[in-house]
């Protein structure tokens, strides 16, 4: 049987969702029989490949590099899933949205106001977006798994349902926060 091509990507989040993914423990062994991990922060693969079946995306979109990454993943993936509250709502990552010009505000706070030496906003890192966006504001999302982080059980439920060709039903299963 041909294995499902699974990818996971990590945008602006704390990696907690990936920890929760790994927290599936022995269920990962069953999962590994059905999927091939083709791209992930836990696998050393440099380029997001073509023809991916399922991609789990952790984190919100906060800078230009992430914006391009997400668009590329969308173009190359059949089923794109928002994994966790940052991806689904913006969560803590998006708290800066309450300020006007929040990109300059946070950079100024970190690198100018609170710096003792070399007070300057760095220019050699990906540029922050004016606002942090949950994924569905940028690309079409097929499924949402809220939670901070989502439990390993819920992640496993969604993947198992999809791998069996069924549609996951999140009613009463997911939990924000």
């Amino acid at each position: 049987m041909k294995k499902t091509r699974l990818a996971t990507i990590w945008l602006s989040g704390c990696s907690g969702c990936h920890m929760s993914f790994l927290d599936q423990d022995e269920l990962l062994i069953d999962l590994a029989k059905l999927v091939q991990l083709v791209y992930s922060p836990i696998a050393d693969i440099k380029v997001f490949p073509e023809n991916v079946d399922v991609t789990l995306v952790e984190g919100a979109v906060a800078n230009e590099e992430q914006l391009n990454m997400l668009r590329q993943a969308r173009a190359r993936t059949k089923i794109l899933i928002s994994l966790g509250d940052c991806a689904v709502t913006g969560n803590v990552t998006a708290l800066r949205n309450a300020w006007n010009n929040s990109d300059q505000a946070v950079l100024g706070r970190a690198f100018v106001e609170n710096a003792n030496v070399n007070q300057q906003i760095p220019t050699d890192v990906p540029r922050l977006l004016k606002k942090v966006h949950p994924l569905h504001e940028v690309v079409k999302i097929d499924y949402f798994i809220p939670g901070c982080p989502p439990s390993a059980g819920v992640i496993n439920y969604v993947l198992t349902e999809l791998l069996s060709g069924r549609t996951p039903n999140m009613e009463g299963r997911s939990k924000y926060g």
């Binding site: 969560n91 998006a94 949950p134 039903n169």
Partner: protein, 238 residues
């Protein structure tokens, strides 16, 4: 003394209740739970959250169960695909209106909005969120209000007015800009009417009003209004 009664059907079940009872109460008494965020037994109906909307046979309109009295022969539907979609949309609008971030909220796991979102399967918010920066007032000795988490259910205002009887709390402005204020929009510490009774924190369905340093699992006590009203009525009868 006999009380006039009304017989109606709720989800196909025949129910007999005293005249003047709301659909919400009649349903609750027969074990049918209609979701609500603003209604609270012991307080007057407000009809603001729109989660208790129900269908009544013969009418194309939806009715708020908390503010609609029963009538003879009425056939009420409390669960349908249409109602579910409306309720999901109402929850999404509430989540979009202010900065509701469960992971950093004092009410995480003890929040009626959060639990309703989960029950209804609201797995994302289709509307763009307003990232509000309303004032947080922590000037009071132990009561705190974070207006960014407020859903404007007015439970705090009603319990302050109707149960405690001091009417410290009220609303200013309208629509999405509306905010709960103390006295004439003063800081809480300066309020001369507040008795620090904590009832506002007890009935708040979310994490907007809370008691500093105390876990919400200890301080939430939303039956307080019903409890006090029952005691008062019992005393009056004696």
């Amino acid at each position: 003394m006999s009380v006039a009664t009304v017989t109606l059907k709720i989800d196909g079940v025949e129910v007999t209740v005293p005249e003047g009872t709301t659909i919400l109460k009649a349903a609750k008494d027969s074990g049918i739970i209609i979701p609500t965020l603003c209604n609270l037994e012991g307080l007057t109906s407000y009809g603001g959250c729109r989660l208790c909307l129900v269908e009544i046979m013969g009418s194309p309109k939806l009715f708020p169960a908390c503010a609609t009295p029963v009538s003879t022969g009425m056939e009420v539907i409390t669960q349908s695909q249409k109602l579910k979609e409306y309720r999901k949309m109402a929850v999404q609008m509430l989540l979009a209106e202010r900065t509701h971030i469960c992971s950093v909220c004092v009410a995480n796991d003890h929040c009626e909005l959060q639990s309703l979102a989960n029950q209804l399967g609201v797995d994302y918010v289709m509307f763009e969120r307003a990232w509000t920066s309303h004032e947080i007032d922590s000037t009071h000795d132990f009561l705190v209000i974070d207006r960014n988490r407020c859903i404007l259910c007015t439970r705090c205002i009603r319990v302050c007015d109707e149960i405690e009887g001091v009417h410290t709390l009220d609303l200013k402005l309208r629509g999405k800009d509306a905010q709960v204020i103390m006295d004439l929009d003063d800081h809480w510490a300066n309020s001369c009417s507040c008795t620090s009774c904590r009832k506002c924190a007890k009935v708040c369905p979310v994490g907007a009003i809370y008691i500093e340093g105390e876990p919400l699992s200890h301080t939430k006590h939303k039956d307080v209004a019903e409890f006090i009203m029952e005691r008062r009525q019992r005393k009056r009868r004696q």
